[in-house]
């Protein structure tokens, strides 16, 4: 029972991350490979802001004894500041693959620095000691606390889901999708593509950081073996399988990918003498899942829906149209256009 409570809690946290990624990639169209770095940074910060001073030989920065909620708030602010710097570099004039590479570079730097520079977050051994935050204050014992945390994560997920689906249907959501489809045309109609993308990027970082704060409470400890930049691919799998741009779809996708693949593959029979086989197979299966969905159902399980105008003078037969977006084409679209522009530039 407790096992499933833990899995559901983790799924809620990953769903919050995926909803943030859905703003950045699903709506705004930016293939951010550094996204998981914001989750990790916020997880580290939440822990070092709550567990007090380190005892030698353990070393880490800050070491405050702040209440958990305050610590998460500060972690969110710092994470967003870092995302602002990365976003200002990566979103200004860098398109598609160049943006992706820049964010991958940023998260790789973070990963290596966290691993090797021990005074930051105690290097490879990581930080630990966050035990059931808010549990004492609220008078919740160890067993009840698992349920409390699940409830908290589910509640945060609900709020995030409601807010992001509002955003998705709002004029800002429409503008993000327009930027995703054709950013030059958006600029031609008076909107700053850079500012629009940066706003979405920072909102994504806020959600990543909130998820990181919850992750800290869930795990209690964090070190470089608990995360790696490529974790983001599993998040992409969730968004893609569920339905890029669709809030319900993204949550469904996370359930499928995390519970279906990550958790159920744990119960695969172990091959004697090859303990690393099952985890490796899991990665292979997730990769396969991404490829199969891109090929056969790029719109995901629950596709993105067009906004439907129900106002007066609605035309006949203008029923709700769900439609197919070719995922690969959507991924390649911007790069393709860039190539075209370049080719014509030289000849004139």
């Amino acid at each position: 029972m407790i096992y499933w409570v833990a899995i559901l809690t983790e799924a809620c946290i990953f769903a919050i991350m995926a909803l943030g990624l859905n703003v950045v990639w699903g709506m705004s169209g930016d293939f951010d490979l550094g996204y998981y770095g914001y989750v990790a940074l916020s997880t580290y910060l939440t822990i070092v802001l709550t567990v007090g001073q380190p005892l030698a030989p353990v070393k880490y920065i800050l070491g405050n004894n702040l209440p958990y909620v305050v610590a998460v708030a500060i972690a969110v602010i710092i994470t967003v500041l870092v995302a602002t710097v990365v976003g200002m570099v990566a979103l200004r004039g860098l398109r598609a693959i160049y943006f992706a590479l820049t964010t991958l570079g940023a998260v790789s730097v973070l990963y290596v620095v966290v691993q090797t520079y021990t005074p930051l977050f105690n290097g490879f051994n990581g930080v630990a000691g966050l035990v059931d935050p808010m549990g004492n204050a609220l008078g919740i014992d160890y067993n009840q606390y698992r349920y409390f945390l699940l409830g908290l994560c589910a509640a945060v997920l609900l709020v995030v889901a409601v807010l992001t689906s509002r955003l998705s249907r709002s004029p800002f959501g429409r503008l993000l999708r327009a930027v995703r489809d054709d950013e030059d045309a958006v600029a031609a109609f008076g909107r700053s593509v850079y500012k629009t993308k940066l706003k979405a990027y920072l909102l994504g970082a806020v959600l990543a950081a909130i998820a990181g704060g919850l992750f800290a409470a869930f795990l209690g400890a964090f070190n470089p073996s608990a995360w790696a930049p490529q974790e983001v691919l599993t998040l992409y799998a969730g968004v893609l399988v569920g339905g890029r741009g669709n809030i319900k779809g993204v949550i469904a996708g996370v359930l499928v990918v995390y519970i279906g693949f990550v958790e159920l593959t744990r119960s695969l029979p172990e091959i004697a003498g090859h303990p690393e086989f099952a985890p490796a197979l899991r990665q292979v299966l997730i990769g396969l899942l991404i490829i199969l969905f891109l090929r056969f159902r790029p719109q995901g399980l629950i596709p993105e829906r067009l906004s439907v105008d129900k106002g007066p003078s609605a035309g006949a037969g203008s029923a709700d149209t769900s439609y197919r977006r070719t995922g690969l084409a959507a991924l390649a679209g911007k790069a393709g256009r860039l190539r075209l522009t370049k080719a014509s530039g030289g000849v004139r």
Binding site: A188, L306, Y323, R348
Partner: protein, 266 residues
């Protein structure tokens, strides 16, 4: 409507292009290009392939930065400004292909064409403020009326990417009309357009003029230029070689040599 009663050449200038130059590698794509677009006037920008017309448009609209030269729109220097800031001044351009936002509905395309950027704040979207909702409802009503004007009402909830080529052109003009622009720069609006639709596009150009906008049209279809443009600017090898009303250019030997001579007259 006093502007329209003055002959095109004597109207005050909306856009003043002076000495634009840009080189790509060793090629001078635009070379000392200068011309004037009067207020409430349609100017056709013609010339053989490679004359630098599209590059000139990119320079005027801020999508490319020139090596030298000035572009003044209603007293405001545009060189050095970002494309979206130029657009905010009321200068709206199109591209050679319609460039609709394919995954958005037809009505949503028109709504992004509209100004009123304060509707689009992120916090307003997250918390669904009353003010934003009211502004959005008004915008939707205007959008529906525009789609009615362009005969796209039945398609308003369809993804724009699913429209035919001609319908995409109409949507492009609905989008422009939604922006209430002061200057419209059209890059080959007749590309892939049948004659019936061409007339409709011509009328859309004239209706922009009627509302006091100026229009620059880059177009290879000379019949369209003759029918709907007040003045013509002819470019060749990056420079302007002639300008004036269409009829005055028919017998201009430089124009004939550069362009009319080797193009089939449609």
């Amino acid at each position: 409507m006093s502007t329209l009663s003055i002959p095109a050449e004597q109207r005050s200038s909306a856009l003043d292009v002076r000495g634009l130059c840009i080189s790509f590698g060793g090629v001078r794509a635009v070379d000392q290009c200068s011309f004037v677009v009067p207020e409430a006037t349609a100017v056709g920008l013609i010339g053989p392939n490679g004359a630098g017309k599209s590059t000139a448009i990119d320079l005027i609209s801020g999508f490319k930065a020139p090596d030298s030269g000035t572009v003044v729109f209603r007293g405001q220097e545009l060189i050095g400004m970002k494309p979206h800031d130029i657009s905010k001044l009321g200068v709206v351009r199109t591209f050679q292909s319609p460039r609709e936002w394919a995954s958005l509905s037809v009505l949503d395309n028109v709504l992004i064409g509209m100004r009123g950027f304060e509707r689009e704040t992120m916090l307003g979207g997250l918390f669904r403020t009353g003010r934003q909702r009211r502004a959005e409802q008004e915008a939707r009503q205007e959008g529906r009326e525009l789609l009615e004007d362009f005969g796209l009402t039945k398609l308003k909830n369809d993804p724009a990417g699913s429209l035919s080529g001609g319908q995409k052109r109409l949507l492009e003009f609905a989008r422009i009309a939604a922006a209430h622009p002061s200057l419209v720069i059209l890059d080959e609006p007749m590309g892939g357009v049948n004659p019936v639709l061409g007339e409709r596009i011509g009328k859309a150009v004239r209706s922009l003029i009627g509302q006091g906008s100026s229009v620059v049209v880059v177009e290879h279809n000379l019949r369209f230029i003759e029918d709907y443009c007040d003045l013509v600017v002819v470019m060749d090898q990056g420079a302007v070689i002639a300008e004036g009303p269409y009829d005055s250019l028919r017998d201009n030997p430089r124009v004939v040599a550069a362009y009319l001579g080797d193009v089939e007259y449609a």
